[in-house]
């Protein structure tokens, strides 16, 4: 049993406390935008925001974040998220798309903390998100594009 605020709604999850947040979001809440890729925090496909910070939901037991605030791709809001998602669409970043929720999460988190990231900042913030289609060239460009939009 764990109480969380997920995308602004308070929820009580009737699952064992060691249940990874990933499976609670997907199986219990049907928030399927958050993806399973590895289960061991190696690929970043399951990235969500917990208390405002990007977190790998596949290794985050719901009991460990009791009372926490969770934000998933389904409810990404604010200027940074909007700029990132627009940039992603404008230059057609996604290929297969499976990793992209996690990529958008990490990119949004980066821009919330750093409005003008360098290539090195992008490498550091995004290196934990694997894209098997290797859309990395466009991820980098889209983050720069989003940063430019935010700077107006």
């Amino acid at each position: 049993m764990a109480k969380l605020t997920v995308n602004g709604e308070e929820v009580t999850l009737d699952v064992p406390e060691d249940t990874p947040l990933l499976w609670a979001l997907r199986d219990e809440m049907r928030l399927t935008g958050t993806k399973f890729g590895c289960g061991i925090a190696q690929c970043g496909a399951c990235t969500v925001m917990v208390d405002g910070m990007p977190r790998r939901s596949c290794v985050t037991p719901v009991g460990s974040i009791d009372g926490g605030f969770v934000e998933t791709i389904e409810a990404m809001e604010g200027p940074e998220a909007e700029a990132v998602q627009n940039a992603w669409t404008n230059i057609d970043v996604p290929q297969c798309g499976w990793c992209q929720s996690g990529q958008v999460m990490s990119a949004t988190a980066l821009l919330r903390m750093n409005r003008v990231p360098t290539d090195e900042d992008i490498d550091n913030a995004m290196a934990g998100n694997i894209c098997r289609c290797a859309t990395y060239v466009r991820i980098r460009r889209a983050i720069h594009d989003a940063a430019e939009t935010l700077e107006g």
């Binding site: 699952v15 064992p16 249940t19 990874p20 499976w23 997907r26 199986d27 219990e28 049907r30 399927t32 935008g33 958050t34 993806k35 399973f36 890729g37 590895c38 289960g39 061991i40 190696q42 690929c43 496909a45 998933t72 791709i73 389904e74 990404m76 998602q85 992603w88 669409t89 057609d92 970043v93 996604p94 290929q95 297969c96 798309g97 499976w98 990793c99 992209q100 929720s101 958008v104 992008i122 490498d123 550091n124 995004m126 290196a127 934990g128 998100n129 694997i130 894209c131 098997r132 289609c133 290797a134 859309t135 990395y136 060239v137 466009r138 991820i139 980098r140």
Partner: protein
């Protein structure tokens, strides 16, 4: 333009529903027969309108016969239809076509399927004719309604007009449904194209940026159980006995059942299923297992490479020429097993209701899966509905001639019995240890150079398993997917022998992005580069001097990439080195030049220049994306990846911590030039991959004196 889900579509699909109203047998049949054979499309020889639905709400839905897993067929095939229909791009929708070989076969295969980078090539004329046919029917309906001659009616951006009257497609949909189906719809001249050749926005980008795109794993049915299967950790092992008492104690686990694929754990949630599987105790029967390690297999293959295999290409007398050569070079190249590792692991959902089944999966050969599901469950084909879902990558992994995922989900339903719904989930560990790898391969090369520096003899012996043996793709005789690319080189070499030694072992193997070219491009382009170096020749000019007259497209991309990279013959500048490779695969021609430095004993690739000739560039943006991705896929693999069998045959790499993926910080800048062409379009999903590894290895040799004899660059450790 957006991707529609099936429910939305069904809710709005009244009106002109061309195709699904056709009896599946009957009208489509003559076309099905005539389109087989040499793969060209006979006029009037198919059911063009099986691909298009025009609704009263003025949306045009294209039923895409190819699975979308990132390579762009949803956008590409819809572009072809919209072009000939003169539709407005915003009114276009894309749906996955149902499983039906007669209507939706790949014209290159004769059955429904995606692979071999054929989606655009086999659809180019078919989808244009489908669009042109629908346009003719709309024009005819408008002309009837307005009492004018059809020749006075024009169509532009989805509006049908004769100058004084106008109507949308939606307004004409019902009437058009009554119009005669044209037998030979005329298609546009390329000079009339308004969409083909432009960067039409991809239909799936938005849904894949906001989490709404629906994949197989995202399907949830009422009362559905999740199932994970314990498979052997040594390939080919089978269950001897098992103890499920602890597994059944796990809250949420509802049942444990043995199926041919292993021991299936059924649960009310994914986590419960995974915990239940961990609690299983299984004894394995190793009698049919592959218990050799990769090192032992390599040693066996090297031994096999000492005996001649089946000669698959021969010109002149290579042995004699090499014997008489001034300089002889020899090299043995070794390539490991590789896993495809698509980001969405394999999965499937089935719902059985009173003798009917509905299935959701990223099926690359949907009729093959449907067939095995129908057979396993003892159902009638018309009672099995396949939903081909968006898939989170494939790279060949979902192209399963054995339909093993279809079989597994069917066995899960069969073992449970009765009505219900079940979701099969493979974990990453299942994915990496579950075989169906790119085959281990050894190339033994010999080459001779005369006193003037001419290559006088070339031998390439390939040792590996056959991918197609025992599948419907088996053509008998030598399997071209084992050595494609070693044969039909673009170079004019006087004495050539290519032979293939077929290895048999119980490890299932599968096509992996670019198939045989994954290793043949490396072996041929590295070895050729070494011969040119030994002869004192420039890697670019040396190749150009050798390229056959008829290989003009190879020459074209090589000249273009040299221009793009500013090639000046200097292989090393400061701490940077440059390497080149050119390779044709799937009838597309790709040349790459790379800039590399040494970063702690590993290549750091800074820049890749690439030229591709893939005929008409239907969507240059998608082509560039596929090249970027193909480069990244091939580069990460060349640098890091080997799927190794350890001692006793146990798979060593079980997840991304040891099967290391390329990351953003390792991705080079990629600059792509697309050759202008009026040739029919060819594939772009795979051809970007083969040249990157040899180009990097050639640059690395310029820097360090040697190109790796065994890939990956980093010998994987656990």
């Amino acid at each position: 333009m957006t991707v529609q889900n099936r429910r939305q579509f069904l809710a709005s699909s009244a009106g002109l529903v061309i195709g699904v109203a056709l009896p599946l047998k009957g009208r489509a049949q003559s076309g099905a027969a005539a389109a087989l054979g040499d793969g060209t499309i006979a006029e009037g020889a198919f059911a063009p309108n099986a691909f298009i639905r025009i609704a009263p709400d003025n949306t045009v839905t294209v039923l895409c016969k190819h699975i979308e897993f990132g390579q762009g067929p949803y956008t590409g095939l819809a572009t072809l239809v919209a072009e000939e229909l003169d539709a407005d791009w915003s009114q276009m929708r894309v749906e996955s076509a149902p499983a039906n070989d007669e209507l939706y076969k790949n014209l290159a295969f004769g059955l429904q399927g995606t692979g071999g980078s054929t989606a655009m090539a086999n659809s180019f004329m078919q989808m244009r004719q489908a669009g042109a046919a629908a346009r003719t029917m709309l024009v005819s309906a408008a002309a009837d309604r307005w009492g004018v001659d059809p020749s006075t009616v024009s169509v532009e951006k989805g509006v049908v007009s004769d100058g004084s009257n106008s109507a949308t497609f939606g307004e004409l949909a019902d009437a058009a449904a009554e119009a005669r189906v044209p037998v030979e719809p005329a298609v546009k001249n390329p000079s009339e194209f308004t969409l083909i050749g432009t960067d039409v926005p991809k239909v799936d980008s938005q849904a894949k940026s906001n989490g709404t795109a629906m994949f197989t794993m995202d399907v949830y049915r009422d009362g559905m159980e999740t199932v994970v299967t314990r498979r052997p950790s040594v390939i080919g092992a089978t269950v001897a006995s098992y103890d499920d008492s602890a597994a059944l104690e796990v809250p949420g686990v509802t049942a444990v059942r043995q199926i041919p694929q292993g021991i299936a754990v059924y649960a009310t949630s994914t986590y419960a299923a995974l915990k239940g599987r961990e609690a299983l105790r299984v004894e394995w029967d190793m009698s049919n297992a592959e218990t050799r390690s990769s090192d032992e297999i390599f040693a066996d293959f090297r031994e096999m490479a000492n005996s001649q295999g089946t000669v698959v290409e021969e010109t002149g007398d290579s042995a004699g020429a090499i014997e008489g050569a001034e300089t002889v070079l020899e090299a043995t190249f070794e390539f490991p097993f590789l896993a495809h590792a698509p980001m969405e692991p394999l999965d499937a959902v089935i719902e059985v209701t009173d003798g009917a089944a509905e299935v959701w999966m990223g099926a690359q050969f949907p009729t093959a899966d449907k067939g095995v599901i129908t057979q396993t469950l003892g159902l009638n084909p018309e009672d099995v509905t396949m939903n081909v879902m968006l898939a989170g990558g494939s790279f060949g992994r979902r192209a399963q001639p054995t339909a093993h995922i279809g079989a597994e989900i069917a066995e899960i339903a069969k073992a449970a019995g009765g009505n219900g719904s079940w979701k099969l989930v493979w974990t990453r560990e299942d994915d990496l240890t579950g075989a169906y790898y790119r085959p281990i391969t050894v190339h033994k090369m010999r080459g001779g150079i005369d006193a003037e520096g001419n290559i006088v003899g070339w031998e390439d012996r390939v040792v590996n398993q056959s991918i197609t043996a025992g599948t419907p793709f088996d053509q008998g005789g030598a399997d071209p997917t084992s050595f494609e690319g070693s044969t039909k080189m673009p170079y004019d070499l006087p004495n050539v022998t290519v032979d293939w030694v077929k290895a048999d072992m119980p490890v299932p193997v599968l096509w992996w992005r670019s198939v045989g070219h994954t290793h043949t491009a490396y072996a041929t382009e590295v070895f050729l580069d070494e011969l040119l170096e030994a002869a004192g020749k420039d890697p670019v000019q040396g190749r150009l001097d050798l390229i056959k007259d008829e290989a003009g497209r190879d020459r074209g991309v090589l000249e273009r990439v040299a221009e793009l990279a500013g090639w000046d013959g200097q292989r090393v500048k400061g701490d940077r080195a440059y390497g080149v490779a050119v390779h044709e695969s799937f009838s597309s021609y790709v040349a790459q030049i790379v800039e590399v430095s040494d970063q702690g004993g590993m290549p750091k690739v800074h820049k890749v220049w690439c030229a591709i000739d893939c005929g008409v560039a239907v969507n240059p943006n998608v082509i560039r994306a596929q090249i970027e991705g193909g480069v990244g896929y091939g580069l990460g693999t060349a640098l890091f990846n080997a799927l190794e069998l350890g001692e006793g045959g146990e798979v060593r790499q079980k997840n991304f911590d040891t099967y290391r993926m390329l990351r953003i910080s390792e991705m080079p800048d990629v600059e792509v030039a697309i050759i202008e062409s009026e040739m029919d379009p060819t594939g772009v999903g795979e051809p970007g991959t083969p040249p990157i590894a040899p180009a990097v290895a050639n640059a690395w040799r310029a820097l360090k004196g040697e190109s790796p004899r065994r890939l990956p660059f980093k010998q994987a450790g656990v």
